[in-house]
Amino acid sequence: MKRLTQHMLFWPAIALALLLVASSLFNPSFLALTWRDGHLYGSVVDILNRAAPLMVVSLGMTLVIAVRGLDISVGAVVAISAAVVALMIGGSFSATGTVQSAHPLWVALTTALAVAAACGLWNGLLVVKAGMQPIVATLILMVAGRGIAQLLTGGQIITVYYPPFFALGNGYLIGLPVALWIAGSLWLALHLVMSRTALGLFVRSIGGNPEAARVAGVRSAAITLCVYTFCGLAAGVAGLIVSSNVKSADANNAGQLLELDAILAVTLGGTALTGGRFTLAGTVIGALIIQTLTSMIYSLGVPPEVNLVVKATLVFAVMLLQSAEFRQLVARAARGSTT
């Protein structure tokens, strides 16, 4: 039992379970799943689907935080990636009434991802080579990135009419949303890379004690650079999902404040913000907690003007539940009242 409660994922999982239970109390059909038109329907599937972009971004953020960094530009990179893919696909009605894309779909997707990865590389260079504080280095792209996205779209919302692209954010594969498959395979791939190669050990060493890792011959600079690049790439993937889901690119609002949700998801999942200790599965749970909260608030019919206050209160409660100090305090108080 003690081993179970000390597991890194124990409290995040409890928090998620409690939220799910609470949701099903308010809405008895919450946990119901039905099979219709060849795929699963239900609130839970909906949450998983909607949480996918946040999961993807948060996975990249987890690694950045694990090497003692931070990337607050991910929201802007989501907007850039969405803008690039929407522009490249374009889409116009041909005379026959079918929709053509301006560039082949795979070219558009690859270009958007390459641009996103370049954004991450830029952040990494500022941190590793120029020695900037991560929060400052990525602040630059956070501000400039949204400007770049607006420049690309000309300040307009660009609508995409090319149906094959919609599969990313709206399609289903073997009964489950494609976006969920993307997030799931990204998690699995990262998990394998971290546990089956030395990268996990190196990342934890750099986060745990950068100087000691350097003395032990770990190429910390190169690894940190890769981690930032990957974080940019992950934000790019999220941008594709988001723009596919809404069938458009909105440079003003795509990925707005996503960086904060991502940091929150990483923290809720149990990764130490001081670097070193990280958990990818925890981050996935953290992203699910946030999305469950959001969905719960909507289904409760909370008026929009108090939405944020309610969300903050719930986040606060979840954080308290996960704080070892707070739990000790409660335990001590409980013991005091019984004696």
């Binding site: 030395a198 004690n209 890792a213 350097r214 032990a216 011959g217 070193g276």
Partner: protein, 508 residues
Amino acid sequence: MNDPAIVLRARDISRAFPGVQALSGAELTLRAGEVHALMGQNGAGKSTLIKILTGVYAPDAGSIELLGNAVTPRSPIHAQELGISAVHQESHLLPNLSVAENICAGKYPRRPWTRGGGIDWRETGRRAAELLASLGINLDVAQLAGPLPAALQQLATVARAVSTDARVLILDEPTSSLDADEVQALFALIRRLRDKGVAILFVTHFLDQVYEICDRMTILRNGKFVGEYACAKLDTHGLVAAMVGRELAATTRSTATEPADGNAATPPVLAARNLSRRGQLKPMDVELKRGEVLGLAGLLGSGRTELARLLFALDKRDTGDISIDGKPAKLDHPADALQLGLGFCPEDRKHSGIIADLSVRENIALALQARMGLTKFLTVAEQRQIAGKLVAALGIKTSSIETPIGQLSGGNQQKAIIARWLATHPRVLILDEPTRGIDIAAKQELMNEILDLARGGTAVLFISAEIDEVVRVSDRILVLRDRNKAGELPRGADENAVYELIAASHKA
């Protein structure tokens, strides 16, 4: 001889920390218009004594008298109010404030309420300028402190320290980051303050500076008072002997192994030519042969650690070519050094050795894995096997190899870091103060381990502040002084010879 007026007298000061008796029965007497040196090796209790005088720590026992009255400094500010000011190693000016604001910080002159109250900035500038002028420091008080050279900041810090009418001024390693000219400027200021009747306590590891500026010295060893001497009456030999606690006449028998087969034709495993870095090491040549233990002796600040760091590419060298087995080697990053078969156990275990959160197994596997690169992965089972074997071989005491290394005792952490490098089967192993802070038994085991390594063909560079250890394990001893090579001694040289080289510049 007329004894100048005694300003401060600390008697029988003791202070213990968990597991260490930092000071027991220390004595210190400071006199008006004198510069007094406080000498001792690392861990002798100098810092503790200073912290007691400035109110950072309370002594467990003992008394402090200032101008004949018993005082008990409760905090650095309280000590300052009593008249005891201190300047520490790194200057503590606030970089974003002007020199004047820094000097008057905490005691800004106020405007009368008739003029609106608040701080009188004009008066602040005037007072600061006046203070600097009275000390003969030529410095514009309106400029920001941050961009000033270290030396000027140091002068301003000293000025700030004495601006509170200090009767006692404590200078803790004030010269460690200054070059020769800057040291002279600081000394000029110290002499001026001395002539004004301030009692000055000067702490440094540079022996030549002690003899240049100080009148008397107090020597501590292992927290105990060794004695107070007039500088003119104790030469460097006597000083070094008193610091390390060994009569120069006593010799230790070398227990070093037979020298590894000295085939002159085989090139040295590691050779550095003309290795230097500005402000850290003057150009020097170093060679290490297969199976040899090269001892590196010298006082702190002599360039011991600096040399080791340059060899492992932890710092960038200004000049110098390094060759491995006679072939020029590219060595610009610790990762290069690792690939070339070098290993390095750093002096500061906590800061640059262990990764506290990781397990003993992961800490041991780290360097080997770093050399194998990302793609070739040591499985957890392989890591367990390697770590388990080394833990047993070195007698590392840990409840399990999965225990976070931060929970181990210092000596066991040190052994685990050595195990990290043994796992890579290094051809050259650099050990910087591997025996610091570990108990006698562990030290003995470690020394045996080093000799075993050398027998196995590894070239070992052994750095220690404890000369007897260096003499015991080394086949050859390189003595450094003032960041320069002072000389080289063959196997079997006794401690006297080492001390003589260390002290050579101050033969009385």
